[in-house]
Symmetry: C2
Subunit: 340 residues, 2 copies
Amino acid sequence: MRPTVHDIAAEAGVSLATVDRVLNGRPGVRRQTVDKVEAAVSRLGYVRDVTAANLARKRVYPLVFIVPGGPNSFLQNLTAEITAAAQRSSIERTSIRIETVPPFDPGAIVSVLDAIDPKTVSGVGLVATDTADVTGAVDRLVEQGVPVVTLVSDLPGSQRIHYCGIDNIAAGRTAASLIGRFCAGRPGNVLVVAGSMKLSDHAERASGFAAVLEAEFPELGLIGPVETNDDAGTVRRSVEAALAAGPEIVAIYNLGAGNRGLIEALAAHKGKLSAVVAHEVTQHSRQALADGVFDAVLNQDCGHEVRSAIRVLKARADGLDLLTAQERIRIDVFLRDNLP
Amino acid sequence: MRPTVHDIAAEAGVSLATVDRVLNGRPGVRRQTVDKVEAAVSRLGYVRDVTAANLARKRVYPLVFIVPGGPNSFLQNLTAEITAAAQRSSIERTSIRIETVPPFDPGAIVSVLDAIDPKTVSGVGLVATDTADVTGAVDRLVEQGVPVVTLVSDLPGSQRIHYCGIDNIAAGRTAASLIGRFCAGRPGNVLVVAGSMKLSDHAERASGFAAVLEAEFPELGLIGPVETNDDAGTVRRSVEAALAAGPEIVAIYNLGAGNRGLIEALAAHKGKLSAVVAHEVTQHSRQALADGVFDAVLNQDCGHEVRSAIRVLKARADGLDLLTAQERIRIDVFLRDNLP
DNA sequence: CTGTTAGCGCATTCAG
DNA sequence: CTGAATGCGCTAACAG
């Protein structure tokens, strides 16, 4: 039978209230008494029953998620997952508010961040552009005691307490390996398409990709990355232009969004490329994989990311530690054959 | 504010005890009264607070896990994950017992299964050989009301309530795709090495692999599967023999364990194969990937499998439903570049 | 500075 | 068949 606050109280020779004060680090207890209680705690190996505590406290965790809106299918999925989590709120003791901001608009993110009241919010999750003003706003919030986690794309220089997303350098490296192996020695160029180098996930993928391509597949040259702001139309035009331009392109890596545009551009090039790799399983990329237009799709499980973000934020809110293994977001590699 | 049992009692005009009886499906309540309570429940949208219920009930979930022992690194990892979960027992209200049985010994599994007392155990997880006697023992247990889940390898014909593991047909298909693409048209044969066709996971991988190889890569012939009982020494000898035998082997797929033996056999064949694919990230396979001896390793996250098994068993024990997305075990595809 | 007491939402005796 | 009362482990007024 694990010890309870009663056992601690008896062991330390004090009352329940005092034990509670010490346990929760509240003031108004003599140094001596604190020591007695702490001694009892460690002597009996006491661990607080968080569920009982939450019950007594009627605790809820008010959380805010900031996500860019727009046509990006992946971000729409992410939003849907947050919504799904919000629907489980009553059972998970959360209270989730979703703030949609215009895409590629650091100012909008900053506004939302600055408007958050540290008294009434116990955690924030956001998909951020890696710019100084956003970092500043995040740091301000963290200093006020509100834990912040980044989703999908990290804010490397910031005080965010956790990043819920994949290792994007490794993702870029993986893409390069797949493309290099699929090309199997055939020389030529690889076109790299990105959304924006202001997104740290895109920048990291690009650098990981370039590193492996150069080191391990010298027969392949690199064209790009061309930036498209994740707009499908721009992606289509960029790819068409590159394909028409001449220097033989044998593979394409789209490390950003706008897969729809890529698919359209490839319609006229059936089977001419050795490898096409893109990111995120969506309606479009799934179809492209099935049709053999894409050869591989790297993916991050946004449901997992959202659940992880919530766990991390809750754990931090009551000073618990977590299972790091459970919070690692995998780089899913999907071929036509292992699509879920 | 979500409704509580008090609200239901007031709404239905009965006492707390009666509400509780209806909620927990206990007998001794008039049909009329049951209806009144149920009406109130659905009218107010009541959902039971499981944590409060567990507190009041001092509930613990006694779980039994049955895992084969022996030198198999993957199974050792699995056991370690179960042990880790057992250490979290007090906070998760579980009480976990691990039963180690000799590998490839259906009889031993059956003995353990039959010795389980349905009164004192609320769930069972096992790594099973797909044989009739094991299926029978599982079904007996389920019929006595003890939920059983399979880990790693399923028991397709049984009454197990859930399978915590990857889609092994898809895994085999994925391996074939990778090997086919890595060979990039070079003709030759692929050697398939398996542990035992009595393990449904091995059988399924083999069939998925063969199907894709035949349909999509006609230039590649298939040799095997040779069975090794997951013994590293046998793997080594089998691979060496096949490699020496003549018919040009350009790739190897080890869909079972014993990677150590495969690595040893390949030491003399550096760089002669177009592709080597194996399963499960362990100390050995990780090194082989880093060294370029293996080109890809398919993996199942056994930590995830164990946590999932526990969630599923607990949820079943109190009639809750679960997030299916969270319980899907992914086929991890690891190249040298995305090893965690 | 410390102790007493009354719940949180639910389950479970024990009477009636 | 039904209800009142007690307690699970913990927190939070409110006294002292």
